[in-house]
Each structure stands twice: as C-alpha cells, then as structure tokens.
C-alpha cells in the first residue's frame, strides 16, 4: 500500500478541520488534491507527513507509520518555499539533503541538470525568483528518488515555461514509478497531469468525484462557418456552435469520427481541431458553485 489514510480526524481547538478522511492508493499513479482555500488540503498533507498531530485515525505511507522518520528516505514532501534559507545557496540546500539522505555527491549534479538549475547553484536563495525556488524545492524533493512524492501547491506563481518544466518532470517521475500526490489550485495543469482527483470540501474528501467526470472537449473550425448550423440541424449529433461559429462537443457524448464524417459529407473542409480536457474545472464548478459565487 502506498498511501493508507483511515478515518482521519483533525481539530484545531474547536474547529473540526479534517472530518474522517479515508484514502487508499495501492499502485503508482498521479493523484491530485483539489479544493478551495481553507478546505484542509495542506492540513491533510501536513498530517500525512507528521508535521501536524491528529486526534483520530491512522496514516501509513509505503506500509510504515507516518511517525517513522526512516520514511523520509523514500517519501519527499515539496512544501511552501518559505522553508528555504535565504542566506544559503541552492547548492548548500542540496548538499545538506544529500548528506542527510546519505546519497552520493554526484546525485546533486544529476538532479540540478534535470530541473535546469545547475547554473544557479552558487547563488544565494534570497536572490532566487519564485520559479527558481520552486525548482530548487523540486530538486531537493527528488534527490532521494522517492517512491512517493507529496507536493503542496508546487505550481503557485510559476510562469508558463516553469509550469511546463515542472509538469514534464512530474510526468517523467511518474513514468519512472513514483507516486505523485499533488495539491493544486491550477485545474488546467491538473487536467494535464492526471484523471485521478480528490476534491476536498470543508475537511472532507468527496469520494464520488474520482475519475469518471474527466472529459475531452473538441472545438472544430471549418472553412464555411455560416453553414454549420444548417448542417448540424440535419444530423442527430449532440454539438453546439459557439460565438466564433466553431463546433463544440464532448467526446463522451459525440464520437469525434462521427462529427468528422458528417462534416465531410456536407462538403465542409476541416481547418483546425482543438482538444481540451475539461474535467477538473467543470467538476470543480459543479461541486464548489457556492464558493465561486461568494
């Protein structure tokens, strides 16, 4: 078992922050944890890594109790960048983790090359940009080639290219067999990373929200947009026409090939096909409509 959380309850004074969380992950995968601010995502991660105590329940990671410090030889936790020491260099941080983890020194170079930070290793962390700090945190987290990597908002404040680099590294790590448990607000990036999403609301995990809501949405642009409405009306396809007179449909409702066949038969030429996964965002809107309105 990679992650086993049973009936986890956490209280801050009178506030019930985690309300009986149950979660089981038994094979390497990427799992996202999504929820509005204050829903308990970071608290859950902090409880899982024994940074915070909890009142009731049980947590095991990789078959070990979360209080076992040897766990951190195989589990890494990428946290808020405030954990870094501004007066030390990036290399100082990595050397420390490397020594504590008893890893060979050449591992540092491998990791900095991978995250693209080799050139900045002698710079003090206080002079790093936000993206550089996030990449250093990632380098520190993957130094020990963890079997389980927990990440708390790793994409916060990253520019698009940094976010793409981070995403690609996470996908590579997953391909290498690392289980990735990521908490994020960036639903678009989550969609690109995984179909397995846990939604958190008011300290509870919404179990019905797993996998089955994730969908692909297609947008097709044709050469004679003024004819689209008439062509579609003559078919039984479940498609809509947007303001730019493009055809939009969900893959689960309307097979792509059927749409293409119908358009071809009507003599329209396909200029462009765009595909977008919309699962996380749409499901989030459904689940957290009240929060969105506030």
């Amino acid at each position: 078992m990679i992650i086993q959380v049973e009936n986890l309850h956490k209280h801050y004074k009178k506030q019930h922050v985690l309300k009986g969380i149950d979660m089981t992950v038994d094979e390497p995968q990427i799992i996202a944890l999504v929820g509005p601010n204050g829903s308990g995502k970071t608290t859950l991660l902090n409880c899982m890594t024994n940074l915070l105590p909890f009142q009731e329940g049980k947590i095991e990671l990789l078959g070990k109790k979360n209080t076992d410090i040897s766990l951190f030889k195989e589990v890494s936790y990428l946290q808020d960048n405030r954990i870094l020491y501004g007066d030390l260099t990036g290399y100082d941080h990595l050397k420390f983790v490397c020594s504590i983890q008893q890893l060979p020194a050449d591992r540092i170079r491998q990791v900095t090359d991978r995250v693209g930070m080799t050139a900045y290793m002698k710079k003090r962390v206080r002079n790093y940009s936000l993206g550089m700090k996030q990449h250093l945190l990632l380098a520190m987290a993957i130094l020990n080639e963890p079997k389980l990597l927990l990440l708390d908002e790793p994409l916060n404040g990253l520019d698009p290219s940094s976010a793409i680099t981070m995403r690609n590294i996470l996908l590579e790590l997953h391909a290498e067999g690392t289980t990735i448990f990521i908490s994020s607000h960036n639903l678009d990036e989550i969609d690109r990373l995984t179909n397995t999403i846990y939604f958190m609301k008011d300290g509870a995990l919404l179990k019905e929200s797993l996998q089955d809501f994730s969908r692909s949405e297609y947008t097709i642009t044709v050469d004679k947009p003024d004819r689209i409405t008439a062509v579609l009306a003559a078919t039984d396809l479940s498609c809509t026409v947007n303001e730019d007179r493009q055809i939009e449909f969900l893959e689960t409702e309307t097979p792509l090939q059927d749409v293409l066949d119908q358009l071809k038969a009507a003599g329209l030429t396909i200029l462009r096909i765009d595909n977008r996964k919309i699962g996380a965002e749409r499901r989030y809107q459904e689940l957290f409509a009240e929060e969105s309105l506030r």
């Binding site: 902090n46 940074l51 808020d80 954990i83 020491y85 504590i100």
Partner: protein, 373 residues
Amino acid sequence: MTLFWFELKKLLLSKKTLAVLAVLAAFVILLFVRNLAFQAQVEKAERQAIDAQVRTSQANGRTHILMLEKDPENEKQKELQAVNLEIRDPLYDLAANFSHDKWQHNLDVQNGILETTLAYKELGGESPLSVKEIERTIALNSEFLERGIRPEHSAYSIALPNFLQQIASLWMYGGGLLLILLLAGDILASEYESLSVNLLFTQPIRKAHWLLSKLGAACIAYILALFTAMIAAAAVSFFFGDDGSFHYPVLIEKDGASEFADLGLQLTEGLVITSILALFVIALILLYSLYVKKTLPVLAAVLGTLGAGYGVTKLFGGFIPGWINPFLNLFPGDLLQLQNGRTWYEALPVTLVIAIVLLMVAVREVRKSRLAS
C-alpha cells in the same frame, strides 16, 4: 555532524551574524582609538590630581596659619602645620618634576606623601581621602613597585592586558549576554516562524540531534563573538599600544583582607563565569523557543527570567546560599573582587547543572514538537 555543520553554516553565514561580528570588531577598534586619543589627557589628569593635592595642602596650611594667629601656643596646630609641610614639599617636587615615564619615582614619592597624610589624619588633620583609601592606594603602589609594572589608567589604557581586561569587563557586564541574545536569540524560534522547520522535520533526522546541533552552533557563535572581541582587542593593542603585563596587580578582598590577584587570572575567571552563564542562557532560549515558537516572546521570557533572578539576588542574595543560585553569575565583578567567605566559582556548578537539566527537558520537548500552528 552533517546537521551540526548545516546549522553552523546557517548561523554563521547569516547577514545578522556577520553584521553583529563586524559591529563588534568595529566597536573594539573604536574604543582603542578613543583610549589612544585620551593618552595626553591621562597624563594631564595625573598632573591635575597632584595639583589638587597641592591645593588641599595649601588650604590646610592657610587654616593652620589662621589658627596659630589666633592661638600662637596651640601645639596641635604647630604639629599639624609641620606635618602638612612634610606633605607639601614632596608634592611641590612631584608637581615640578612630574614625568609619566618616571612612574617608579612618582609612586615612591606618592607613597611617602600618603604615609605622611595618614599621620596628618591621625593628628586630626583633614584630607579628602579616607584612611581605607589611603591604605589601599599605598598597598597597590607598593605592589606595582614590587612587580615592576607601571600602573595604567582604569578607563583609558592602551596596554594589551589592560585593554583586554577593559573589553572583558564590558563582556562580563552584559555585553556577552547581549551578543548571545542577538546571535542566538532566534536560533530555534525563527525556524518555526519561517516554517523552515518543516524542511528538517521531513528529512530522516532525529529531532534531538537537531536540537543538540542548534546548541552546538549557538555555543560556537558565542565563542566566535568572544574571539572576535578578544582578537580585535589584542591585535590593535599589540600593534598600536603598549606591552603591559598579565601579572598586573588587581586589588581584591578575600576573607576580609586585601589581596592582589593577577589581571590575567581575573580576566580568565571572569570569562569562565560569563561563558557558563551564556550556556545557561542558550539552554533557556532553546527551551522557551519550543514552548513559545516566536522570537520576540522568547527574548522577553529570557530577559524576564534573568531580570527576576537579578532582582531576587540583589534583594535577597544574602539569604540564598551562592552554590544554589545560578543568577549570582550575573554579578561577576562582585564574585571576583569580594571573595569574603566564598569563592568566585561558587555558583558555577549549579548553573551548569541547571543548564543541563533545561537542555534535557528541551530534548524531551523537541521529540514531541511539530509545526507551529
């Protein structure tokens, strides 16, 4: 050791530590420059002191003349007048031929004058100096002559040992503690405040090792600050000051009698007292940090504890045996100079034991410690 070196590096490479050490070195150098600049004033002050003695003697002489004009047969006044003249003549000689370099001659003459002044006071004559002061000054002057060491000005000396003692005194009277609070006051609490503690708590590190590494780093920071002050003081006085001697006599009171101790020994003993006290303060900082987890309240709690200890010792020190009162070390000057029925190291064992107990409690607490929330 990895953890210790990491903690040490964090502490020593921090902007704050470097700034504190630079300011400390600059302060020592500036103090020496001040002493150097006041050397001419020191000689002038010595001359003024002789002039003051001359004026006192002249005033006494005028009083005796007036009294004898009223009562020419007053034998006591005649005797006082004669003794006063025995004081005044060598004083005139000293004032006329005063040279800072002829210190042995000066001390010889001074002692002669002081002995005559004692006789003058015994006859009922007036002098601004008390008998005790005169006796102590005579003894100290004799000790200087016996040891062949030139006396130095207590506040403006540029001799290496005396300048070191001046720095050590500042260190003992609050300077060392202030630096410990500046350098190590936030050593633990800031980790909780900045959340950097989370980095350490999510590594395969034993929390007790982490705490002991902090202790080691704080002790090294204290030693480094002490060395910075002492090396800066030794360097400037070595290159720009006088040689002096570590056998320089320091007058102390031991079991009711006056004794002389070597300045070098006093300096060492003073720094030992302050260093043990520093360990006690570091233990307090570490323990309070685990409970409070915020730097300013930790500093307030440590200062509060020391202030309370200071107050209790000041008010009720006479009723509390020294060997159970760690706060006695807040008064190193008294411990070193007034050794009546007690030794200077009397309160050191209890201070050390309490520091160790505080650290043991801190180790137990840190094992349970988690993120501040």
